[in-house]
């Protein structure tokens, strides 16, 4: 298993190098624009060339990338062109905000979807119809609209939760929880809709299989059949959907962070892209790739733990 994990991590690193190289090659066409943006409306062609030389942007592209990569492997991701803030510390601070929201949304999505999906599949009838209805509504209503309604009701009218901003967990766990409550709720609705439908379908399929009938005829309780046997087998596809949901939530965080003025990864990436802040974009790309690789690996490991058939030998 250790070799499997190391192999996957190795593949992830190769992927990170390739993705960052492609990103850098795409960005290199805008180096003139970066220098021009820094100099402002008073930029002259000579000034732009001088600024590029000062920033080292006049060197061959591959030399620049090799330089960035050699620093990156040593943990130095450079500094923002515009604020001079070191990228690593900036990303670490912002990653905490984004992961707070995304992981909380992911865990709650998983928990709620399992409950709804299993209940819908095992009980059927009204419970199933309610779960399907809720799932459909979750699909149809954009999470931005949900966010707006929740902010209006819970933050502006009732003043129970903050409308904007973020409090770090270390500062005040209670305020941290309230500061991410609405963003998490907005982010997890489509995920719950998707995952509930997935689990319901997979569970119905499992519950109709022969081994379930056999278990029941041998007197195994319904609870045990559903939770210990059927759910375990249904978990594989659900976990795959969950890992895809994580990637979607990372993307969704970009909008949600803007709407709630959260100082996270998404809003930082958005601003950096508009400005052409190359070191930040590169840092975000690297972090993003590594994050997705790690989450996918974690999902595969959990899947293997739950279902021996999924283990790679």
């Amino acid at each position: 298993m250790i070799s499997y994990v190391l192999r996957r991590l190795g593949t992830g690193l190769v992927l990170a190098v390739l993705v960052t190289l492609i990103t850098f090659l795409l960005l290199c066409t805008s180096f003139d624009d970066v220098a021009s943006t820094i100099l402002g409306s008073g930029a002259t062609p000579e000034g732009i060339q001088a600024q590029k030389a000062q920033m080292g942007l006049d060197r061959p592209v591959l030399t620049q990338y090799a330089d960035w990569l050699s620093h990156a492997v040593r943990g130095d991701l450079g500094a923002s062109y515009f604020t001079a803030e070191p990228v690593r510390s900036a990303l670490s601070a912002r990653l905490g905000v984004t992961l707070s929201v995304v992981l909380a949304a992911l865990l709650l999505t998983a928990a709620i979807s399992v409950v709804l999906g299993v209940m819908a599949a095992s009980r059927g009838g009204a419970v199933d119809r309610v779960a399907q209805g809720a799932s459909l509504i979750g699909f149809l209503v954009p999470n931005l609209l949900i966010a707006i309604v929740l902010v209006y009701v819970l933050a502006i009218e009732l003043k129970w939760l903050p409308a904007t901003g973020y409090t770090p967990f270390a500062e005040d766990p209670g305020s941290w929880a309230t500061s991410i409550a609405i963003p998490v709720a907005a982010l997890m609705v489509p995920g719950i809709a998707n995952l509930t439908a997935q689990i319901r379908g997979a569970m119905i399929g499992e519950l109709r299989k022969d081994y379930v009938r056999t278990l029941r005829t041998r007197g195994v309780s319904t609870r045990s059949v559903v939770l210990r046997h059927a759910l375990r087998n249904a978990a594989g596809p659900a976990l795959t959907v969950l890992s895809l949901e994580f990637v979607q939530m990372l993307g969704g965080a970009l909008i949600i962070e803007k709407v709630f003025a959260l100082p996270g990864f998404g809003s930082y990436a958005f601003d950096a892209s508009l400005q052409g802040d190359v070191p930040i974009i590169m840092g975000i790309t690297l972090f993003g790739v590594l994050l997705v690789v790690c989450v996918n690996l974690a999902v595969d490991l959990v899947n293997g733990w739950l279902n021996p058939k999924a283990r790679v030998h």
Partner: protein, 517 residues
């Protein structure tokens, strides 16, 4: 000639008692008196701004809403008060030589950086020299400076290559900040500024790019002008989030869009509408006709000016949150002339006639850059120009390429939404042969002579008259096609008041005062 400080008269004599508090705080920044405790002391101003601040390195400061932060941390040599007048800042007086080539500034005594180091003429020289020799957004503002010399600890002499009317107003902005020479060149200056301004940046409570917390200094020379002991500036780029933060009580001041005003007013917020803070201008950059020949003809440029139904644009696109105009200068500034507003009225038939007279009866086509901020106006620009026979071909430009595209000389015409400034700076940016918006560097003899006169004039009243003449020249010769002024709605919670009226568009904490609740 010594410039007299115009605010020596006690304003309380001329202002009604009811607005005395407001006036007091709008002017105390300039009274030059130190000490005392400001009414409202202990209050917090929690202000929402849109843009993320740049580096705090004095060479990289940019003006805009982020100025609220750096202007609180740094002193500037001069101050632009809320009425738009230049008054003493770190320099308690200044004097131009008769030929306007030597500017002598007397630096206020007793000022200290937060590091404890005294502010001296050497610090001023070091900062000015660094700004003018380091590539950055402010280098252009000091382009006319030949040398900076010190004379004793509190006298600075700036020698100019040529007279420059925009230098004094520039010294009230980013090019006029004073940094601590000991720390200014270190990397830490970018995030941890050391200045001599009224506030210090509380690094412990500040989250870069998100929240900036400023604590007022007790030893500041003009403490009275700053009634808030704490200023918390929150970067909220999304306008809806900004309104939500106001409604939820998470910030107590911010600017909002016109559509939100009535809701906030009915919720008990105080709303102050500043009619003009930026101008929407169709820049007829190639007015020499080097790339697009028709633009070299004044009749064509006048026709373009007649193509826009400015009243309708303000009413329907800006929802009344602006004002139609044919000028690029601040309507509350020295150069503005209300009489010029009648120069071009909406008249497509006359515009077509002028185009035909110029030899373009079938019109012509022109490429224009489609930028992030031009999108809402593009259909109107296309329709208005199409009506007189001019076809616009939009070319999409990504946000990060905006500046490059505008200075590339690729586009004979482009639409801008620049913030308003003082008349000399507007002239420098828009019309100088090296101006940032005069991309093709065009000029004319009459303009040159007016510009030389304006730059050489050391008497502010006489200079103002010349800037008015410059404005009239550019409007009558249709150097641009300004369309509208766009305003700003400032919303404050009860107890806080926005004191500006648009006379000064410089973003400073001095624009916020306190009132009895």
């Amino acid at each position: 000639m010594r410039i007299r400080f115009p605010l020596a008269r006690p304003l309380s004599r001329v202002a009604p008692v009811a607005i005395a508090t407001t006036v007091l705080f709008s002017t105390t920044a300039c009274d030059g008196q130190s000490g005392g405790t400001a009414p409202g002391s202990g209050r917090t101003l929690s202000l929402a701004i849109i843009g993320t601040p740049n580096s705090f390195d004095p060479t990289q400061l940019i003006e805009g809403q982020q100025t609220y932060i750096w202007d609180s941390v740094y002193d500037t040599l001069l101050i632009q008060d809320n009425e738009g007048r230049l008054v003493p800042g770190a320099a308690e007086s200044w004097e131009y030589s008769d030929d306007a080539r030597v500017l002598t500034l007397q630096i206020r005594k007793g000022m200290k950086f937060t590091s404890g180091t005294p502010v001296t003429s050497a610090a001023v020289k070091a900062t000015l020299d660094r700004v003018r020799t380091t590539s950055g957004p402010n280098q252009v503002a000091l382009a006319a400076v030949a040398s900076v010399e010190t004379s004793g600890d509190h006298s600075v002499v700036i020698k100019l290559k040529r007279p420059d009317g925009s230098l004094l107003p520039a010294l009230s902005g980013a090019p006029g900040v004073i940094g601590d020479p000991k720390t200014m060149t270190s990397k830490s200056a970018a995030l941890n500024p050391v200045g001599s301004g009224p506030y210090t940046l509380d690094k412990g409570a500040t989250v870069n790019g998100s929240v900036y917390v400023l604590k007022r200094r007790d030893d500041y020379w003009n403490k009275k002008a700053y009634p808030f002991s704490t200023v918390k500036v929150r970067v909220i780029a999304d306008r809806t989030a900004s309104v939500n933060a106001l409604k939820a009580g998470e910030v107590n001041a911010g600017s909002v869009e016109t559509a939100q005003v009535s809701t906030l007013e009915s919720s008990g917020f105080e709303v102050k509408h500043v009619e003009a803070t930026a101008a929407g201008v169709l820049v007829l950059a190639d007015r020499g006709g080097s790339k697009l020949k028709p633009l070299g003809d004044v009749r064509v440029r006048k026709a373009i000016n007649m193509a826009f139904d400015r009243d309708k644009i303000v009413k329907q696109i800006l929802r009344g949150g602006g004002k139609p105009t044919v000028q690029v200068f601040n309507p509350k500034g020295d150069a503005y002339d209300p009489a010029l507003e009648k120069t071009y009225t909406y008249d497509p038939a006359e515009a077509k006639r002028l185009l035909a007279e110029a030899g373009y009866p079938d019109g012509f086509s022109v490429p224009m850059p489609s930028l992030v901020y031009t999108k809402p106006f593009e259909p109107t620009i296309v329709q208005s120009l199409k009506e007189i026979g001019i076809t616009v071909k939009w070319e999409t430009v990504p946000a990060q390429q905006t500046n490059s595209a505008l200075i590339s000389k690729k586009y004979p015409m482009f639409f801008t939404m620049d913030g308003l400034s003082t008349a000399p700076i507007e002239v420098r940016n828009n019309f100088n042969p090296t101006g940032t918006r005069n991309v093709f560097g065009t000029t004319e003899e009459r303009f040159d002579s007016l510009l030389t006169r304006a730059n050489s004039e050391v008497d502010p009243a006489a200079a103002a008259k010349t800037y008015k003449e410059l404005n009239a020249f550019t409007v009558e010769n249709a150097w641009n096609a300004p369309v509208f002024y766009v305003g700003t709605h400032w919303v404050t919670k009860k107890g806080i008041r926005y004191l500006g009226d648009g006379s000064s568009t410089f973003s400073t904490i001095r624009q916020f005062g306190v009132t009895d609740q």
